[in-house]
């Protein structure tokens, strides 16, 4: 045990005394993710800005819809409709220029006698056309245009007599919290697994293949330390460092997610119980140990860090595909699935995030992964004893 701790301390010292490594591995990925996702979110939602839509020749049919949307502008629609009385071509041209200058976001021009023509019900090719103008170079205008077309789509369906729209009751029967949980269960297992693997890939090859490449592993191998102690010390320290790096990325994602998807951090925290967080921690720990063991074996086979990274890339693609499985196929509950390494972690995480967490599935996942980790550690120990593997120059 003492030797294991000595190896762990040395690996930590190697990592934490190197400022570039600490910044590059622990801080920068999380920070970049936060900035990137927040910027993306800002571009999508344009914050809480209210967009102005000017309407020429207002239609009586659309009036209640626009009024409702204007009333909801502070809550959901983000649109405020203003009527323009002057319907001359000069007025429309002036309004177009103002739109281009960013003074408002969308211009809607109804044809004269629009309501009467709708009431008559003309054939498709003779139906009146509504002109909608916007500025695609302006993200707020683009976003407002999207909201306006959505309103028209709904109304067009209603006017075609297919169904009536009830603006006071939503057709969606899930709660907002359940809808958010569903998004997270699709997205977060993939992101977490990708972050964990990337973190392990950034650290583990350097520690094993790097030591082989530089010849420093041989210096360790001539000390009386047992090979198994060396392996456990390496895997333990790499797991902690990889987990820290992954946590950095996860925090960045977690903090930026509300900006990206709408909602607030408080809602996210409140959505899950303490037990769910404990289960998430356990499954992440299990995943990181499994991935570190796997990459360590690939690194031990490799002659250099470059070769180790080359070996690890195809495995990364496989891991990412498994991560995407919750997005493509949703959650599963068949127990045998939870014996499949990595995939079991994805499924348990998806269960946790979708609030359908099964303790039995978690237990099977943790137990089976523990067995795989022990087997991988034994294999790595055997590799550390093999001169063909350790000195394969």
């Amino acid at each position: 045990m003492k030797n294991i701790l000595t190896i762990v301390r040395k690996e930590f010292a190697r990592f934490f005394k190197d400022k570039r490594l600490v910044i590059g591995t622990l801080i920068l990925p999380g920070l970049l993710i936060f900035v990137l996702y927040s910027l993306l979110g800002s571009a999508f939602y344009e914050g809480d800005k209210i967009s102005t839509v000017k309407v020429v020749n207002p239609s009586a049919v659309f009036a209640p819809i626009f009024e409702q949307a204007s009333a909801d502008s502070e809550n959901s629609s983000g649109l405020k409709f203003e009527t323009v009385e002057d319907n001359s071509q000069e007025s429309v041209d002036a309004l177009t220029a103002q739109l281009k200058a960013g003074e408002f976001q969308v211009l809607i021009v109804f044809p004269e006698n629009f309501d009467e023509e709708i009431a008559v019900g003309k054939p498709a090719q003779e139906r009146p056309e509504i002109t909608v103008r916007y500025n695609s170079a302006d993200t707020q205008s683009l976003s407002a245009y999207s909201a306006v077309t959505s309103l028209f789509d709904q109304t067009e369906d209603a006017l075609s007599g297919l169904f009536n729209i009830n603006y006071t009751q939503s057709g969606d029967v899930s709660t907002a919290q359940e809808a958010t949980a569903s998004y997270y269960s699709m997205l977060l297992p993939f992101l977490i697994l990708t972050f964990l693997y990337s973190a392990c890939m950034g650290i583990a090859p350097e520690s094993i293949a790097g030591e082989k490449e530089r010849g420093t592993i041989a210096t360790l191998l001539v000390t009386p330390i047992k090979r198994s102690e060396l392996v456990i010390g390496k895997i333990a320290s790499l797991s902690v460092l990889s987990a820290l790096s992954a946590i950095g990325s996860f925090i960045g994602t977690f903090l930026s997610m509300p900006k990206l998807m709408g909602g607030s951090i408080g809602d996210m925290f409140a959505a899950y119980s303490a037990g769910a967080y404990v289960a998430l921690f356990a499954v992440m720990l299990s995943a990181v140990l499994l991935i570190v063991s796997l990459i360590s074996i690939l690194s031990a086979f490799a002659k250099s860090v470059k070769e180790a990274t080359t070996f690890a890339v195809p495995v990364m693609i496989l891991v990412m595909l498994l991560g995407l499985s919750s997005m493509m196929f949703g959650t599963v509950s068949a127990l045998p699935v939870f014996f499949i390494p990595i995939y079991n972690c994805v499924q348990v995480m998806a269960q946790i995030f979708s609030m359908q967490f099964s303790p039995l599935c978690l237990l099977v996942t943790l137990a089976s992964n523990a067995v795989y980790i022990v087997l991988l550690v034994l294999l790595l120990t055997k590799m550390f004893k093999s001169e063909r593997v350790m000195f394969n120059k």
Binding site: T6, K10, G215, T216, A218, T219, I225
Partner: protein, 257 residues
């Protein structure tokens, strides 16, 4: 005299990769590195393995250091069989070779403590050994400088003190003065002589005749993986200089082969 290192009929064959086969210009993927090597080194003596490059000297020392395993035969270090009691062997030896490197990122002081811990030494013993060895080799002045910033000679000194941090009974040095400047080479050879005076058993591999003549009591001449002659320095020399004696042996062996 007590036997400290004994090799009995040690054989080792390496499997060559295609690249290595091309370099060696051979069609066989097997290369015999050691072909039944037998020799004994005694307590308080320096044993020299003398031979040209590729003779098998380093392979023999790596087997003694437990880094690789012999295909057949037996080797003992301080009474421990190298393949069955590898950890005890590693605790009894100090092994130094150019292929063992120190991590550039750490300082000599840190690495000394780290390897002291791996050898199971207490903090007091580590500090005592550090004072002795760092002062002797002048490492104190660069003890807190990263290894990557040191010269080759300085690195070799640090590697040397780390290899003997645990005051081993047996010292195994592969080409101990290879690549060193004359001053550092002298420090190393003087230190080996001093260790012998302390009763340590030392085995070195080299192709430098003057080093063998200066230090070794017993010599084993290895050519093509075989021990072609073994005995005391005087027996090997046979009244000639070691260099003349070696080339005579070499010609005889080449003629036989």
């Amino acid at each position: 005299m007590r036997e400290m290192i004994r090799a009995v009929n040690v054989r080792k064959t390496f499997t060559l990769s295609r690249r290595q086969m091309a370099i060696e210009k051979t069609h066989s993927n097997k290369k015999v590195a050691l072909d039944g090597l037998t020799f004994t080194a005694y307590e308080g003596q320096i044993y020299g393995l003398l031979g040209p490059n590729g003779a098998g000297k380093t392979t023999m020392l790596r087997i003694l250091a437990t880094l690789i395993k012999a295909d057949s035969g037996e080797a003992y270090v301080a009474g421990h069989e190298v393949s069955r009691e590898a950890e005890k062997v590693r605790a009894s030896i100090g092994f130094l070779t150019s292929e063992l490197k120190l991590e550039d990122f750490f300082t000599p002081a840190y690495l000394f403590t780290f390897f002291g811990n791996l050898h199971g030494l207490s903090e007091d013993v580590i500090q005592k050994r550090r004072r002795e060895l760092f002062e002797k080799f002048g490492i104190d002045r660069f003890a807190e400088v990263k290894v990557g910033d040191l010269s080759t000679g300085m690195k070799q000194k640090v590697s040397l003190v780390i290899s003997i941090i645990h005051d081993p009974q047996v010292i195994v040095f592969d080409e101990p003065t290879n690549g060193l400047d004359v001053l550092t080479a002298k420090v190393v050879t003087d230190f080996l002589a001093e260790l012998r005076e302390q009763g340590k058993s030392i085995i070195i591999s080299t192709h430098i005749f003057s080093l063998v003549e200066k230090l070794c009591e017993r010599v084993g001449v290895i050519i093509g993986g075989k021990m072609v002659k073994e005995g005391t320095l005087e027996e090997i020399r046979g009244g000639q200089t070691l260099e003349d004696a070696f080339f005579e042996i070499y010609k005889e062996t080449a003629g036989e082969q």
